[in-house]
Symmetry: C2
Subunit: 295 residues, 2 copies
């Protein structure tokens, strides 16, 4: 045949044949992303050597995963979550100096504009669960207190559901609130001990988890976004150490540095937490923010 | 924290953390496939270092690709095609001894049970295009003729559409037919010279091709499935060498060994093709089948 501008496809040069087709003046970042994806995708196919039927099963899985998505359900994010990709992207984008609070994933249940509360308020509006006090400081990496930092907190109720999953059943804004640090960088609020809950597992991703011998449960956690003027906001959780799923969070969100000491208090609270009856749980937890990178 | 059965996720050990979660008694092939996929997927993410926005763009693309699919449109197969994955899977599953006719992809427009025709019949029912005679032999790898081999052939009309894409416009079964080899293994039929046509490019995959500076056209081709009792069927094409897209088929279907010699005939046909007026095209093309592997 005549000389060709582009190489013909063979099993051996498949990556080059595909990547050589990209035009000369396309977006350079898109070129980089696609050439890396094609290289690893072909490497995976060559290692797996899928049969035609296995390939068709993959096509069908990807199709059904897309078709499961609607305005309130994002099955592809779930897939990314259970394959550890969401945590990996989060880790890559939030490498922080040691000592700074580590990030973990945001999750699908964050709602902005939660009620602002005064120090010590109780965000549990349905009365369910074991009482908990969380308090501590927000500081910079040198240990200086940060005043006026915002602590945006949310968690499930004791039945394992977020308020937005049970509109009409739970009080609006149950277990959500925004607190502010004082002049010492101190914050404090009341809530209930968090519990584990399953990610939605009635779709293709849940079925895959089942076939992989995995359960859909997230380790018990409380979500936080901590932010302050001039600092990088941190999106994070704290985890009680006694959750049976601590080492097997379905979305890999647990980091060693985010496991908190949940202490049982056997006597009624005095002083600031006056009125809280024993037994209750208490966590001292500090957040350390890094200065925002200058742009 | 207490000793854990499963490793916690870190950027460094992300692959191990995910793959360690698979249960002990799951399907071993599924375990192999998923562990290879997770390893290459994480390697790609670590190399790309996507921003959160890029990750979300990928999630959105995968979602829309699934949602573009319906009973007559399979956008994920298109994606597999334009990334060279379909050809790679085809190549892996059809490694044949040198000299045997090579496979290429089936494509979405095959229709079983096309009309059976006698030797020399014309499958072009709409009268469009430049006349073509295709003829040759079906043999085994030792050169022996194979009698009663079936040659199932299909192609677009001269406007670049398959009959099934233009029901009511094209005659039913236009440019489709099944021929049989005689005692010498010989076959012969009339048709028209094939032309290039675009794959469907009004969806997410077409938009991606556009951003990659790629066109959606397939190199001109005629499809064949050649089968005979006791032999592996071959799914293949032949390509005219003068198509402008020969070295840039959008789905990478072109193989060197499948480029045929399309000769122009400047005199009216005599003998077997009597009645065919000049100018017309002629291709001599032999198929070589391999014995079916004993199971
Ligand atoms: Cu790889
Ligand atoms: Fe959560
Ligand atoms: Fe075709």
């Amino acid at each position: 045949m005549a000389a060709t501008k582009y190489p013909l496809f063979t099993e051996e040069n498949s990556v080059e044949a595909v990547n050589a087709r990209m035009g000369g003046d396309i977006d350079p970042r898109l070129r980089e992303i696609m050439s890396v994806l094609v290289r690893h995708l072909h490497a995976a196919v060559k290692e797996i050597e899928p049969t035609h039927e296995e390939w068709l099963t993959a096509i069908d899985f990807l199709t059904r995963t897309g078709q499961m998505c609607n305005e309130w359900r994002q099955e592809y994010i779930l897939l990314s979550d259970v394959l550890g990709v969401s945590m990996l992207v989060d880790a890559i984008n939030h490498r922080r100096p040691s000592g700074a609070t580590e990030n973990t994933i945001l999750g699908p249940f964050y709602v902005p504009e939660a009620p602002r509360y005064a120090r010590g308020a109780n965000i549990c509006l349905d009365g369910k669960g074991e009482p908990l006090v969380v308090g501590g400081f927000v500081r910079d990496t040198a240990g200086n207190p940060i005043e006026h930092a915002l602590i945006d907190v949310w968690q499930t109720n004791d039945d394992g559901f977020y308020d937005v999953q049970q509109k009409g059943t739970q009080p609006d804004w149950n277990l959500r609130g925004v607190f502010t640090t004082d002049g010492e960088g101190s914050y404090r609020f009341r809530s209930v001990k968090p519990r584990y809950y399953p990610i939605p597992d009635d779709g293709p991703v849940g079925k895959l988890l089942g076939r992989l011998g995995r359960h859909p449960n997230r380790a018990a956690h409380i979500h936080f976004i901590v932010s302050a003027e001039g600092y990088d906001p941190v999106v994070t959780h704290i985890f009680p150490p006694d959750c049976q799923y601590l080492d097997q969070d379905a979305v890999f969100g647990v980091k060693e540095s985010l496991i908190a000491d949940f202490r049982t208090q056997q006597e009624d609270a005095v002083g600031e937490d006056e009125g809280l009856k024993a037994p209750y749980w208490q966590v001292d937890w500090d957040f350390v923010l890094t200065k925002r990178a200058k742009i």
